[in-house]
Amino acid sequence: MTGEVWRQIGECVQNLPSYLGQHVLISVLALGIGIAVSLPLAILGARSKTLRWPVLTAASIIQTIPSMALLALFFPVLVGVSYVTSRVLGVSISALGFLPTIIALTLYSMLPVLRNTVTGITGVDPAMTEAARGLGMRPRQVLLKVELPLALPVIIAGVRTATVWVVGIATLSAPIGQTSLGTYIFSGLYMENWIAVLFGCVFAAALALVLDQLIGLMQAGVTLRSRGRVAGAAVGLGVVILGGLALPALQGEGLFRGWFRQKAAEGPAEATQETYVIGSKTFAEQYVLAAAIRDQMQAAGLGTRMREGLGSAVVFRALASGEIDVYVDYSGTIWVNHMKRGTVADPQTVLTDMTWWLARKKGIRCLGPLGFENAYALAMKRDRAEALGVDSIDDLAGVSADLKIGGSYEFFGRPEWTRLRDAYGLSFAERKQYQATFMYKAVGTGEVDLIAAFTSDGRIAAYDLVVLQDPKRIIPPYDAVLLLAPGVAEDEALARALRPLVRAIPVETMRRANYQVMRDENSRTADQAADWLRREIGVAGK
């Protein structure tokens, strides 16, 4: 067991230079821009009451937007901006990762700096400013020599608050494709790798604390006129910042790589020279499949780059706009979320209609189904189901009033859930929302009686759950499908590399691969599971 822990820690440490470096980069850059914008704005605000109110209110409103939502909100905005710049300048901006993260974090850093600077300056004793004027200082000199120095402790307190916030919130940039210490936390959560989660948290907290303390030391040094303190703090900040920025370079990773990218090459011949970007959503199966796709492409001599752990709302748009080139989605998700279809058809019709719709409306090529479904399904512990005599969702109608149901945050917001409830006349005693990991644990411990599980999840077998039949076919089919971005839709080299995966993965194989990653004991990495998967289905080693 301890050997296992050390192995996981070792894996985390391997990624530390890149994750920590990126985290330092985005935090420091966002803070720098935030302070550079906020300080002058706050000074103007302190001078003019008419400006103060709108500025502080706007900053407060931004602060009330949940950080996760703010980070995600800039994605569609930047997709739009990128469309315009690519039309006008021929350069498209990456709407994923770096830019939206910097914008959102910058906005977050502004309120504490703005508010404290305004409070600090307006709080300076009017006798002080009058004395300064009376001695013959010009307005600029009053500001620089008297007001700012006197307000400094309050301003710095704001900067420190902003620092702690930004370093913390920067972890949330992982789902929009920015590598950070949050990557440990998010991938750890979805892969049930608690060591990674802890690792990310500890390093993010430590970074926040160290920066906070160093800024505090710097301020104390200035106030107490202690050269030693100022120099110590400056050296400390320099080491943290420059060290952080230099770390990824050690791994040969360019910091700004992927920020700007060339427009996708037009012809397939050029396209083969490109690096393909592989995307994935935020759960184990997606990491495994992304790794399998990567190995498959590398075996065919194609260059690849990973953009893992993207939020499911972000990933489809990212593909449509060419941010990523390939990923795996599920037919039901496209059918319900993007095609907005209300009725359910048989799997083949869904596949055909979806393929046509994707090509026609988005220019996206559906290379085909992988051969398994990852659908929502209501599942119960086997003994509980047998005791209740429940075999299908139909049987639930009579007993649902006494049962508690658990589901993911997403599930209860989906149209399937409403239709399922109405069609079968279900009315549960209680409804609980969980992150997937905890959802399975909850049904395992009996905290809830049934859950909205995922059919390809290895934990169905591990927890000895039975999947309830859906005789009315309310839940649409969720066939895993390989999707190619419009820019590479005609890229035959890519298609050739990936075609062996089409209709090749049975659901049992996928479940076992998923479980290798998810199980608590002796878990494997997504790379190892992908390796196993490819050998299992006989596509490896060619």
Binding site: E130, G134, L135, G136, M137, L150
Partner: protein
């Protein structure tokens, strides 16, 4: 040296007047005290002289020059100002506080340093001991000495003082009052001092301008005001210190000191 002609100030566009139709002439080398109750316009008058407050009406001349025709910032650098609540900057050392105006005037570093030493010595604060102290480590009296030194720093010969000794304990106040008079005479300054302390006014002033409701009621030497008050207000004003002196006398004469 300082001349105010028909000077008026209104803060509300002419509905009420803080100062109205004020005429005052302060001769070179004179120590003029503006005396009156709080809110009578004496501080407003003082601040109009160096342009901290802009007069609504009338003309003000300092050393023969119209105040309004000059850059108020440059004007202020030429006029020493001692502030009511001392006004030392808490984030600067004693030396830095004193050096502010010479630095603003662009004096050379060494000249500034020498001047700071000279001034600290003049106000009896040993430079070696005091130059690098922060204002929070000084007593009230020491701070006001720094305030006076700072006002004198640029060799200005016009000094404006806004209740400079108001916040000090009586002993310190008395010694600083004496000391200021000495400096005033030795450097040949022209000073205008605002106070509501009758005794202070009588002891320090060459001439006193009694103000009431924005207007000057009477200007004259302490002796003239005491012996020849021109109206009831001035008479009552001048009586207060006399009455106090009488009562003190009474206490001294009552042997037990228990009489009420």
């Amino acid at each position: 040296m300082i001349r105010l002609d028909q000077v008026s100030k209104s803060y509300d566009g002419g509905r009420t007047w803080a100062v109205r139709g004020l005429n005052l002439h302060v001769a070179e080398g004179e120590l003029m005290v503006l005396l009156g109750e709080s809110g009578c316009g004496k501080t407003t008058t003082l601040k109009m002289i160096n342009g901290l407050i802009e007069a609504t009406d009338g003309r003000i001349h300092v050393a023969g020059q119209d105040v309004r025709r000059q850059d108020p910032v440059l004007l202020r650098r030429r006029i020493g100002y001692v502030f009511q609540r001392i006004g030392l900057f808490p984030h600067m050392t004693v030396g830095e506080n004193v050096a502010i105006v010479p630095k603003l005037l662009g004096w050379e570093k060494q000249t500034v340093a020498r001047r700071v030493e000279e001034l600290l010595e003049m106000v009896d604060l040993g430079p070696a001991d005091f130059r690098d102290r922060m204002p929070r480590n000084l007593s009230g009296g020491q701070r006001q000495r720094v305030g006076v030194a700072r006002a004198l720093a640029a060799r200005s010969n016009v000094m404006l003082m806004d209740e400079p000794f108001g916040a000090l304990d009586p002993l310190t106040r008395a010694s600083l009052q004496d000391e200021y008079r000495r400096i005033h005479r030795r450097l040949g300054l022209t000073s205008v001092m605002v106070t509501h302390d009758m005794t202070e006014a009588l002891l320090m002033a060459d001439r006193i301008a009694c103000m009431r409701a924005g207007e000057i009621v009477q200007v004259g030497s302490p002796h003239a005001l005491m012996t020849d008050p021109q109206d009831e207000f001035v008479r009552r004003l001048m009586q207060t210190p006399k009455e106090q002196a009488d009562r003190l006398e009474q206490i001294v004469q009552d042997e037990g000191g228990g009489a009420s």
